[in-house]
């Protein structure tokens, strides 16, 4: 049941594209005691229905920039295949520590990143004072 709710809450964030998967990874490895490599596999599978079900709303709202998709997905597939191959052969403890380093990097860079000018934003939230 706890797993269901963890999936639900992080799923909302995943639907936003904000890093729900990362939070779910943290939940699984830190609180649920799942080894890093298994947690990563679960996380990837978890994202499939989550993202697939969030996409229709994004498409309907016109938030998908189609011109990006083809080049980004093409190189993305190459990158993800090679990295997944390497990671699944790696020592679990090492993978876990590297993940921690990655989180620190992401946290710091997110915290100090300047908000971009929301050209496509018509919903009235205050992303930028320039709007």
């Amino acid at each position: 049941m706890a797993a269901f709710f963890a999936g639900l809450i992080t799923g909302i964030l995943s639907g936003f594209g904000v890093g729900g998967g990362t939070l779910l990874l943290i939940y699984m490895t830190t609180f649920a005691g799942i080894p890093q490599n298994l947690a990563q596999g679960i996380n990837l599978v978890y994202f499939l229905p989550t993202a697939a079900l969030a996409l229709p709303a994004h498409i309907k709202n016109g938030f998908i920039e189609r011109s990006v998709l083809l080049p980004a997905i093409f190189t993305g597939l190459l990158g993800t295949a090679s990295a997944a191959w390497i990671a699944t052969g790696l020592e679990v403890e090492l993978l876990h520590r590297l993940f921690g380093g990655f989180l620190i990097y992401v946290g710091i860079s997110e915290l100090f990143r300047k908000p971009s000018i929301p050209q496509d934003d018509s919903s009235g939230t205050s992303d930028s004072p320039l709007k």
């Binding site: 797993a3 269901f4 963890a6 999936g7 992080t10 799923g11 909302i12 995943s14 594209g17 904000v18 890093g19 998967g21 990874l25 943290i26 490599n37 298994l38 990563q40 596999g41 679960i42 996380n43 990837l44 599978v45 978890y46 994202f47 499939l48 229905p49 993202a51 079900l53 969030a54 996409l55 229709p56 709303a57 994004h58 938030f63 011109s67 990006v68 998709l69 080049p71 980004a72 997905i73 993305g76 597939l77 990158g79 993800t80 295949a81 990295a83 997944a84 191959w85 699944t88 590297l98 990655f102 620190i104 992401v106 946290g107 997110e110 908000p115 050209q119 496509d120 934003d121 992303d127």
Partner: protein, 121 residues
């Protein structure tokens, strides 16, 4: 889209792919800032487009984890069900969210977890 922008999209996608495959997630955290910075997408477009890019990457990398990582689908099931419901809600709630505060709260949480994971647990 200009040639330069296509190349930037390809580089951003490739980098997100590496992270996605290596850590089994987190590709979007790299992709979103790159899309908004290099391709001048607004926050909302960057987030939503990132979901569309990451989905096929996850399909491929999860297959590799299944083949090589000893992953059992049954252990993923409860997360999957919650995630599916959350995904629908997330998509619908998205246009009402204040992105700036969402990101800041998120950054603090990630930072806390990062220090814990790298040095403690």
């Amino acid at each position: 889209m200009t040639k330069k922008k296509s190349i930037q999209a390809a580089v951003a996608g490739g980098a997100a792919g590496l992270i996605n495959g290596f850590f089994g997630g987190g590709g979007g955290m790299l992709l979103v800032p790159l899309l908004s910075r290099w391709l001048d997408l607004g926050d909302r477009k960057a987030f939503a487009t990132s979901v569309a890019v990451i989905l096929p990457l996850c399909a491929l990398s999860s297959a590799i984890y299944l083949l090589r990582g000893g992953l059992e689908l049954s252990s993923a099931l409860p997360y999957l069900l919650g995630g599916a419901l959350g995904g629908i809600l997330g998509g619908k709630l998205f246009k009402h969210m204040n992105m700036l505060w969402l990101r800041r709260g998120f950054a603090l949480l990630i930072l806390y977890a990062g220090v814990r994971t790298a040095f403690f647990v």
